[in-house]
Symmetry: C2
Subunit: 334 residues, 2 copies
DNA sequence: TATCAATTGTCTCACGTTGTCATTATCGGT
DNA sequence: ACCGATAATGACAACGTGAGACAATTGATA
């Protein structure tokens, strides 16, 4: 592989001048610079990053430890956001699929230490508390947090998501929302419930009784109790005019349940949700109106934090916004 | 950061002996080894990968250039499979989201060259032909192929997928399959159609007229024409007893269309598909019987190829198999 | 011609690791 | 005690880059 010495020989110049050109030292004459640059381009020389890392004692590498990238497809956007920022700043990202607390985590951290990575981002597939990893590396928690709050953290503002969604529903004239929430073991579910109740209170309503737990815990993914709940509620005295699903994946069984009950989504009852899971939310019929979870932005913020000099344990909440489709019609037409 | 010299000083031994311990050289006396190892553990020393790379002139890094990781969630399994193999072999994988032919691709290849990566895997989100990237690096094409066939390639065996699915349907007594295929611009769609017709021919049937194009081209993702087609076909003289969807995402609008037609999936007509997209296929009601696309295995095979000494342009086809749920009932009950 | 600035070159070291080769310690056999 | 053999350890160089110190060269200007 060509090195700077080869370039110097070909350009009939000194090693030092080549080094100057590569490191954009302004002291070099434009003609010389051009001549050397041409040779660099011709030979396809690329500086040896290993040597640079060793010499400069810095590595330009940030680790991204992702718990179960596979399970939630939206978590990919965390990766994308982080990576886009990293590359824009000339940094490299190393991705590791891990399972928290298992060997895969230790190994990933060891590998990153080998590469003298400057920081690592630790992402989970859903919003929850985690034990801190044992590492000296600067760490940013993404979509998760530690109990002690000693680490920089980037989270979705689930309280805001719940609040703003309900506020919008009430503004549009809906009066009997029913929240089919995820299991309360999930931090996001608890926060959204808070926001849900708060938005009701601001409108002079007590919505605290309008929440049902409609999914099994995180250990039993995608087990929903929507049939049982809807069979009761849609025939009950306080029949909901809008259903709020804990996530888009839950909205799918909700659609099926409503059809079985002979009810039309958007006509007999509106349906909303959280995630904006692509392309599912768009492909459902009618299209699902849902609060977009800002995973891409969260990934960006986390990487910015990882690359910043700031070492304080900042806690950053990223907001989401409503994506409108047809499952939430204007109240007049419902 | 501690280095081998520090360890040597603390252990009152030479640099070389420390190096031997770290590289598990059996020449070292057990007593010495233990003494040095203890110091290594105490200090938390980790070898500097940059120095190792420079000294040994190899890098243990493989690049994974992924086109649009985000769009198709199944393509994550390509990443997972590749990564699992890489880590099992003590290699590191660097992931890059790129757009083919654009600056992001060139930059990714340049970064990998900087790190003196030994190989790169180039993955697309759907099976298709690609122009070869301009690089000297050993390249493995994953889920895509070059026209000249000059590069090692790992592809899903789409012909087998189409063939085996139809063979199984016929075996179960279905006689009027209708293939709602993806756009013929997609290589996978063409191959599955071949397999579809071939399996029919083997059973003495001419299925060549039983294929409809039900999706727009790759540039207009997730636009399906299933309503128009099904409205005609389900009322026509050759009413299908089983529908084969081009992908699980298409099965979703198919379900909705059938419901609108007052038909019950699994009862009035069976539905099958390709992908086994999680968790969608499981959450649809009834659960979707679908040919699993072996993305995880493809990722594994591609990484094995990337890490192998073999430089010949092998073309490896990875097979998939049927995942049974309730949308394809035993013929007797349909 | 003297002076100065701009440019280029020489030389040296440092980063952390590992391969080559040399040296020292130990042991068995005589 | 001595030899040879083997085991164990050590000294040193080199990988490619970047930087500092400073010398040398060129060209322009006073």
């Amino acid at each position: 592989m060509t090195n700077q010495r080869d370039i110097a020989r070909l350009a009939k110049t000194s090693l030092k001048t080549v080094s100057r050109v590569i490191n954009r030292d302004p002291l070099v004459n434009e003609v010389t610079r051009k001549r050397i640059q041409d040779i660099i381009d011709q030979t396809g020389y690329v500086p040896n990053e290993a040597a640079r890392m060793m010499r400069s004692q810095t590595s330009d590498i940030v680790g991204f430890l992702s718990e179960d990238v596979a399970t939630t497809s939206s978590s990919i956007d965390l990766v994308r956001g982080a990576q886009d920022v990293a590359h824009a700043m000339g940094k490299q990202m190393m991705l590791f699929n891990i399972r928290r607390g298992e060997a895969s985590e230790t190994e990933a951290l060891a590998q990153l230490a080998r590469f003298r990575a400057g920081a690592c981002i630790l992402a989970t597939s859903f919003h929850r508390e985690v034990p801190l990893p044992r590492t000296d590396m600067k760490t940013v928690l993404l979509n998760c947090y530690d109990a002690a709050g000693e680490t920089a953290t980037v989270l979705p503002d689930d309280r805001q998501l719940g609040h703003d969604l309900v506020q919008e529903l009430l503004r549009r004239g809906y009066r009997r929302p029913l929240f089919l929430n995820l299991a309360p073991e999930l931090a996001g579910a608890r926060l959204r419930a808070e926001g849900f109740v708060a938005a009701g209170r601001e409108a002079g309503m007590d919505l605290s009784g309008r929440i049902r737990t409609a999914s099994a815990g995180p250990d039993r993914d995608h087990t929903y109790y929507v049939d049982e709940i809807l069979t009761v509620e849609m025939a009950g005295p306080e029949r909901p005019d809008v259903l709020i699903c804990g996530q888009d994946l839950m909205a799918l069984p909700v659609y099926f349940a409503l059809m079985r009950l002979g009810l039309s989504v958007g006509k007999d009852v509106a349906v909303t949700s959280f995630d904006n899971l692509q392309p599912l939310a768009k492909l459902m019929q009618p299209g699902l109106t849902t609060m977009d979870l800002p995973y891409y932005d969260m990934g960006r913020v986390a990487m910015q934090q990882a690359l910043s000099e700031n070492d304080s344990p900042v806690r950053q909440l990223v907001q989401g916004q409503l994506v409108e489709r047809d499952s939430l019609p204007a109240k007049g037409t419902a």
